[in-house]
Amino acid sequence: MKISSNWLKQYIDFEINSSNIDELVYRLVLLRFETENVQHIKRDYENFVVGKVIECVKHPNADKLTLCKVDVGNEILPVVCGAPNVETGQTVPVAMNGAKVKDFTIKTSKIRGEESRGMICAGDELGLSDNHDGIMVLDEAIKIGTPLNELFGLEDFVIELEVTSNRSDSLGYLGFGREFAFMTGSELNYPEFKIAECEEKTDDFVKIEILDTKACPRYCARLIKDVKVKESPEWLKEKLNAVGLRPINNIVDITNFVMFETGHPLHAFDFKNIAGQKIVVRKAEKHEKFTTLDNKELELNDKILMICDDEKSIALAGVMGSLHSGVTDITTDVLLEVAYFNLAGIRETVKYTNIHTDSSKRFERGIDPNDAEFVMNRAACLIGELGEGKILSGIADAYPLKIKNKIVNLRLSRTEKILGFRISEDNIIESFRKIGLETTKKDSDILSVTVPTFRPDITKEIDLIEEAVRLYGYDKIPEITYSTVSLEPNENIEEEIIDTVREKLKNLGLVETLNKSMVDKKYCLLFEKKPVRIEHPLNDEMNHLRNSIILSLLQTADKNIRRKNEIVNIFEVGKIFFYNEEQITETNSLAVLLTGIRRFQSWNEKESVYDFYDIKGIAESFIKSLTPKVLSYVSQDIPCYFDKDQSLSVYLDNMKIGSFGALSLETAGLFNIKQRIFCFEADISGIEVLLQKSEFGIKDLSKYPKVVKDISVLTGINEKASTIENFIRKTVGGLLTDIAVVDQYKGEQISKDKKSYTFRMSFQSFDRTLNEKEIEILLNKIIHGLKNDLNLEIR
């Protein structure tokens, strides 16, 4: 909604100018009128006056120039003029020395040897029209010497307001003016007019029949005959231009003007096109056809309310007229419609047809049913004035059940309770009165408020409380905090676990990502869980919900690889969505992805790339940071998108916690990734169980020294390190505090089908220093066992 300060001035005696506009905008915001834009329109004609051409002579040195003498009131100026239409006796706009015309300033100069002390202006040079064919000729009646500012000067502020969707009353100048007058402490003046009706009666020419009084509680019509359809006068065109409307003709312009003035939409029909002198308001039939005035063909349904004559439909009620029912240049008799339609019905039409108009926008929010006479008379009067029409007496008014003002009670105690502070009774009553809400006191606590029909948004006490604090001023609301806070234990365990998981993964040097839940179906199919489809996706890239976090990480990896980010070490914890026995299920899940370069080459290190043992290390460290329990890592139940030969699953007893390893080549291939990708994934629910079953106890530490020994074992090429490790653990028992593979060797010094593992073992006792002998016995036991039980060779 655009508010022009010049237009608003008609109803409120308050000057908006450059010095108060910023403050006004700020105060409007506090009154719930957000400003989207303020346009300052200024036409200033300093040093421009009205002059009279008293002499025209051809320029001696130029064919196309004329030497003029121009009387500007207090002196006569020599002016060289290039316009073809300049003539003696014309009244013209003159730019004198100092005047700015477009980009240059007028000053005395010689043009081809002749002195010129001003310029006679064309329309475009004044910014008043596009005309540059000749100078602008003014009405002779205008007094010579009149400053041009008195004729054409303009200063206007056009404030573009955002009106919240519950407020219909502020979509008109009078409704907005009520709020503006309250804000500035000024009075709102309704336009005054006197309607001159002729003898003939509207009732004798038009009959109104409402077939659905719920959808259309009121319909008023008035006939105006012998109208001259023509261009609107300047003042009207200027107003419409200011609010962004294109002037069409006086009749259409008047309906628009009155709609903006009152907030109540009107419609003008060409009465000659209305068959049977009858208006019928009814619902459309299924599949009924309708052609809008902008020539769009619609097929309707039976929820849409129509305005019809005796034969055909002539308008989509409250939204738009039909192609041939409107006012044209040859119209002489105009039937004006001012109606009140039910909000829901209009919304139905708008939703179905997707046609949004200035009219529908107002009806949708709800307008005042009871200002119809005022609106009708205002428009009729203007048509009488500007279109020289004969206004038929009386209004054909179908209003079977009058909509009355509501009475809503407001408790002062309740107001204070909701707001947390007190607004005085007097303040409430007075500010309510200023915006049209009359109050009477019921008892010491209760105000009985009469809510006029132009405020359909107020139906409950809470609406009045909001109104009270809005008018009081949101900037004056105190800021209260209470220091006594009762802390409730946090019961959201999952959320805490997610945060723990994120912290652990971040501490492992990984970068957290956040990806959208929406993904392309083709990627979902790769993963095992049945994906959830989105019904109206914006594009195919988001037609399903992700059923795996790995899927998101793969997309991220692909993007980063293409951008030459060579180290990709990322994780995400978030929701996945899938069907579990036809039920949409969402669970939290975590995934880690490693690919590309692990370390760049540096002065002390060779470049290396990620491999299986990196993701295994991440999985192991992550789990170790969550639990002291030893979990088992087995080749069992590996999801299909992993490479079976390079993947493991982690188990706590019989419960699978997650899987990790290299993704299969097909998986990577689907994302066009041509390098190996290593992932770890686990459900948060599994982590939750793991944490519940784990209590970190503090272990005693031995005071005695530990002894470290290495042993190298030659094994078959397919032998697993874990077999040997477990054997050694079992053999030694409690004295072995640690064992790790510190070297692997394959190569020339041993046969091709063999490899060598070196294990480093730490021995330590809690009650004594182990002596050489004990260690030697243990080592012999190990060697003996490895040789005899596992059939291995010791190097």
């Binding site: 009154l31 719930r32 969707s165 407020r167 909000l343 829901a344 939703k351 309770k417 909701i418 707001l419 947390g420 809470i462 609406d463 409380i465 909001e466 604090v469 809005r470 949101y474 900037d475 609301i477 105190p478 800021e479 209260i480 905090t481 009762s486 946090n490 959201n492 959320e495 994120r502 993964l505 971040k506 492992l508 040097g509 990984l510 970068v511 957290e512 990502t513 956040l514 990806n515 839940s517 959830v532 489809r533 989105i534 019904e535 109206h536 996706p537 914006l538 988001m542 919900l545 991220t556 993007k559 980063n560 980010n565 990709v568 990322i570 929701k575 969505f577 949409i584 969402e586 540096s602």
Partner: protein, 332 residues
């Protein structure tokens, strides 16, 4: 015997002469390994006359012990920490520290601050029914957000939540007042994406329902929150607004932390940053979950996490958060 004593002197002198840890180790191998000189001398015991064997053995043992002791002494001398000149300009060994996503950093901040103020964290499903997203929240049937094409539906009556406000209903349904929760999470709209809008975004919902909760307390609570987030001299402004699920409602502005309200490009010269919406829980919403709205009152607020993050980190395009370009993420 004299030969042995001479040998002893020579060996011990030789060990003493070692100039480094490595050389000492070489000497150990030379004298004390399986085939070392001292080890081999023990084998000579049997060639010594029986009456001299005991003495020979004792001398040899002493020699072995002295040699071992000397070697250990020398070794520990050479392995002592010593300072040497190195090139300090070479880069350090790389260890990566890991990063949180910037949106989650803000989310963590929110949780920390509101936890201190007595709010606990709640969550709810992202795929919701119309009841929790619209009906229970007093969203009129004609509200634009209810248009099927504006939301992401997955089944009839099932859609991705358009606001985290649904968690309000889920929370209040489960128990009895008082409730004091925040619910950070994802929300979705079927929107064309641009520099300020994405189809998926993150919000933080807040709800406090109790006896005597007021609009003024809402303002105070948010003010304290933003003072903690953006600095002590932060002030807030309430602007009246309309939301179906709260009344009275307000939009919340925070004084620009960059220019302290003087006006700068960040706040588009206004001195204020628009940050979220809030209000008193509408009595209809309370009644919808069976709470007596005469006895209890409550406030609710919703903050846009992307917006807070964009402001705090100076990110100009919201889409950057979901691109996950590591060069972007590694800056936080």
């Amino acid at each position: 015997m004299t030969g042995l004593l001479e040998k002893k002197k020579r060996i011990l002198d030789d060990i003493s002469a070692s100039a480094s840890f490595e050389e000492t180790e070489e000497k150990r191998i030379k004298y004390l390994s399986k085939k070392g000189e001292i080890t081999l001398l023990f084998e000579q015991i049997k060639t010594v006359l029986p009456e001299n064997r005991k003495e020979f053995g004792q001398v040899l043992n002493r020699l072995r012990n002295q040699a071992l002791e000397l070697i250990n002494e020398m070794k520990s001398k050479y392995s002592e920490v010593k300072s040497e000149k190195i090139d300090l300009t070479l880069p350090g060994r790389n260890t990566s520290a890991g990063r949180y996503h910037p949106l989650n950093m803000i989310k963590d901040d929110l949780k920390k601050i509101f936890n201190k103020m007595g709010f606990s964290v709640a969550s709810g499903p992202e795929v919701e029914t119309e009841y929790y997203i619209f009906d229970a929240l007093n969203m009129p049937s004609w509200h634009p957000a209810r248009k099927v094409t504006d939301s992401l539906y997955v089944e009839k009556d099932k859609l991705l939540r358009t606001e985290t406000s649904s968690v309000q209903i889920r929370t209040m349904e489960k128990g009895k007042p008082p409730f004091r929760i925040i619910a950070p999470g994802r929300a979705y709209r079927n929107e064309k994406e641009n520099a300020t809008h994405t189809a998926m975004f993150s919000q933080c919902e807040g709800l406090y329902v109790n006896k005597g909760v007021s609009f003024a307390e809402l303002k105070g609570t948010l003010k304290e929150f933003f003072r903690t987030l953006y600095g002590k001299d932060t002030i807030i402004r309430f602007r009246p607004h309309y939301f179906p699920f709260t009344e009275p409602s307000a939009e919340v502005d925070v004084s620009c932390f960059k220019c302290k309200g003087k006006g700068c490009p960040l706040c588009k010269m206004s001195g204020w940053l628009e940050i979220g919406g809030c209000g008193m829980v509408h009595p209809i919403v309370l009644e919808n979950v069976g709470i007596d709205s005469e006895e209890y009152t409550g406030f609710a607020f919703g903050l846009g996490i992307e917006r807070l993050a964009m402001l705090k980190f100076g990110v100009n395009d919201i889409r950057d958060f979901f691109e996950n370009d590591l060069r972007f993420l590694e800056q936080f």
